[in-house]
């Protein structure tokens, strides 16, 4: 217990430090070296742009914080993923799986649990290594049976999340095309360690795999696996 809290504090301190150092050590040395060169040449030629450039390099080299990187990073941390998959089941059956949002953690690997509060609202818990914890409440914002479903986190949640699913019955086939859009944004202001970690686990490739798993569960009733099967002892 005591040790656990200590670990939490240490990792929080690390996070804090990491949160403003965003330039790597080698790059910092290079920045300082570049700054020295620019400042020397700028001073000799009395060239203002060179002097300013040198100053910026000196700042990011010594402090280790680059505002340009930070701006790029925060744009990257806004996730917007769209993926589509076909499921060989009638649309009403596929829609029903999504309408019960409690099903999502069965195939969405970034979710630990979704618990319905009432018909519209639900409580979401992110899948994160302890002691990180991230949870929020969401509500269904729009639903058209067998056509589309949208939900969004409630205002002032620790992460801003929205999802939509569009269903299209494939003509002439007993199949449904499912198009999923998911967005995750850190809240306004400083994002915590949990949010940063959480957003880094959600990638396009991962969502593609998650939807493949969704399809396998709906069609075959289980996800294929080899985890736990025997394998030869390899002697190296």
């Amino acid at each position: 217990m005591h040790q656990g809290r200590l670990k939490t504090l240490t990792s929080a301190a690390d996070e804090l430090e990491e949160s403003y150092i965003n330039v790597g050590p080698i790059e910092r040395w290079l920045s300082v070296a570049g700054a020295a060169a620019l400042l020397a040449i700028g001073a000799r030629r009395k060239n203002a742009p060179l002097l300013i450039g040198g100053g910026v390099l000196l700042f990011r080299g010594v402090i280790g914080f680059c505002p340009v990187y930070e701006a790029l990073k925060s744009r990257r941390s806004e996730l917007e993923i769209e993926k589509t998959i076909s499921v060989f089941r009638p649309v009403n059956e596929v829609y029903a799986v999504w309408r019960n949002l409690e099903n999502l953690p069965r195939f969405m690997s970034h979710l630990e649990s979704v618990t319905a509060i009432d018909d519209k609202r639900s409580h979401w818990v992110a899948r994160l290594p302890s002691p990180l914890r991230l949870e929020w409440d969401a509500a269904i914002t729009e639903e058209h049976e067998n056509e589309s479903l949208s939900w969004a986190s409630l205002p002032d949640s620790d992460v801003a999340h929205a999802g939509s699913v569009y269903f299209r019955s494939v003509p002439g086939r007993n199949a449904t095309e499912v198009r999923v859009t998911l967005s995750y944004r850190p809240p306004a202001g400083a994002a915590g360690a949990a949010v940063g970690r959480f957003l880094s686990t959600i990638t396009e490739d991962q969502i593609r795999e998650d939807l493949r798993c969704f399809k396998a569960i709906v069609e075959a009733g289980e996800r294929p696996t080899t985890a736990g099967q025997p394998t030869g002892v390899t002697l190296h």
Binding site: S86, F88, R173, A175, D205, R208, E209, R212, K215, A216, E219, A220, G221, E222, R223, P224, T225, T226, A227, G228, Q229, P230, T231, G232, V233, T234
Partner: protein, 390 residues
């Protein structure tokens, strides 16, 4: 349990490994009665199939007794004797519902790997690389069989293991190859490669009504085995030199109506072409050597069919697309939809229309798998088909 494990190119070891257990509700565990080494296992043995890992259990041709079933398997019970198709298929996706089991959408847990190379992933297979599922194979005392409510077919006790073992792969594979030729009365079918799949393609072509079947190989004992079936004509590549010319002469100047490439990626070439392909292969500029395929395309009559049961895994050079286009050929290929064929073919065995045990040349205990692979690969001792008894 004892299992045959791949440990690298030409490194096969029989190792003691954990027994398999049920991992999914539709699984079953089978105690292997008899298993075999497939020609396609030699592609693994020779390191020609990517994404193998040391310790992988080989084998995809096996029959055995059910020892345990998962809660969702209601058609099998412990003690049932079953044949297990080599492609793993869920039985419920778009492809399975159309009988295209080897294209199953759901059985490959590593589908993303295959998608990187093939665009879309085929079904998972037993013991045939991680790109195709990474499933532990059947050259072992016990095997975990996924979707056991769909794949395994119950076998009558009266038939011997050797009579029914090849229902799991090579008999359906030869049969599908012949069926893909859309054989019409009077048709001449040429078959490149008289290994086990070629042997079953020859017999299947006759079963499907071919007038004549011409078997092509350079290994004498394989040609002799093909000749046992009445009516099969044989062509020894080493004797005739130019296979296309020989086939022209044998078909009244028309060419065969259908050509089957039962050789695949490790063909042995002759003359300059063979040297060229071997050099490119060794330099890793191509990973498959398509000599039989080129011949089949060139020899085929206009409007004919080239059917490819031989396994290809990667890229080839000098594919004669001009000849295929110029003659309007139909190309048919792919892994076998074993689940679709296994019951009707079992009936043919039961009726005595065919006895698949004719291909067996070597019977060995499982523990002798390493030397068996070597012998089969080098075609020593007249080896055509090895069965292994756990």
């Amino acid at each position: 349990m004892r299992a045959v494990c791949w440990n690298g190119r030409k490194q096969i070891r029989v190792e003691s490994v954990d027994d398999p257990h049920l991992l999914n509700p539709r699984d079953a565990i089978i105690a292997t009665e008899l298993t075999a080494i497939c020609g396609s296992d030699l592609h693994l043995y020779n390191g020609n199939i990517p994404t193998m890992q040391p310790g992988d259990i080989l084998g995809h041709e096996f029959i055995g007794q059910v020892v345990e079933v998962g809660p969702e398997v209601d058609n099998l019970k412990p003690g049932d004797r079953v044949a297990v198709p080599f492609p793993i298929a869920c039985g419920r996706c778009f492809y399975c519902s159309r009988g295209a089991y080897s294209f199953c959408d759901n059985s490959n847990p590593n589908a993303w790997m295959a998608e990187k190379v093939y665009g879309y992933s085929p079904a998972g297979l037993f013991g045939y690389s991680h790109m195709l599922g990474g499933y532990a194979g059947g050259q072992a005392e016990y095997v975990r069989v996924p979707y056991a409510d769909v794949g395994p077919v119950k076998l009558p006790r009266e038939l011997s293991a050797e009579q029914v073992l090849f229902l799991t792969d090579i008999f359906p594979t030869g049969f599908q190859a012949a069926e893909n030729c859309r054989i019409q009365p009077g048709d001449v079918v040429a078959v490149w490669g008289c290994g086990p799949v070629g042997q079953f393609a020859i017999r299947s072509a006759f079963l499907l009504g071919a007038e004549r079947v011409i078997a092509i190989d350079s290994v004498v004992e394989r040609l002799e085995m093909a000749r046992i079936h009445p009516g099969t004509e044989i062509l020894n590549e080493d004797d005739v030199g130019d296979v296309t010319e020989a086939l022209r002469d044998l078909t009244g100047g028309r060419g065969p109506d259908a050509c089957i490439d039962a050789v695949g990626m490790e063909a042995h070439g002759h003359g300059l072409e063979g040297l060229f392909d071997t050099a490119k292969y060794k330099l890793m500029l191509q990973n498959d050597r398509p000599i039989a395929l080129r011949q089949a395309i060139n020899a085929c009559r206009k409007g004919g069919t080239v059917s490819i049961p031989g396994v290809y895994g990667g890229f080839i050079d000098k594919f004669p697309i001009g000849a295929a286009f110029g003659k309007g050929l139909t190309l048919k290929m792919g892994q076998t939809h074993v689940q679709k064929y296994i019951r009707p073919l079992l009936e043919k065995v039961e009726n005595g229309e065919i006895d698949p045990s004719f291909v067996v040349t070597h019977r060995l205990p499982l523990d002798e798998a390493p030397s068996a692979y070597e012998m089969f690969n080098n075609k020593e001792d007249g080896c055509i088909k090895v069965v292994l008894k756990p």
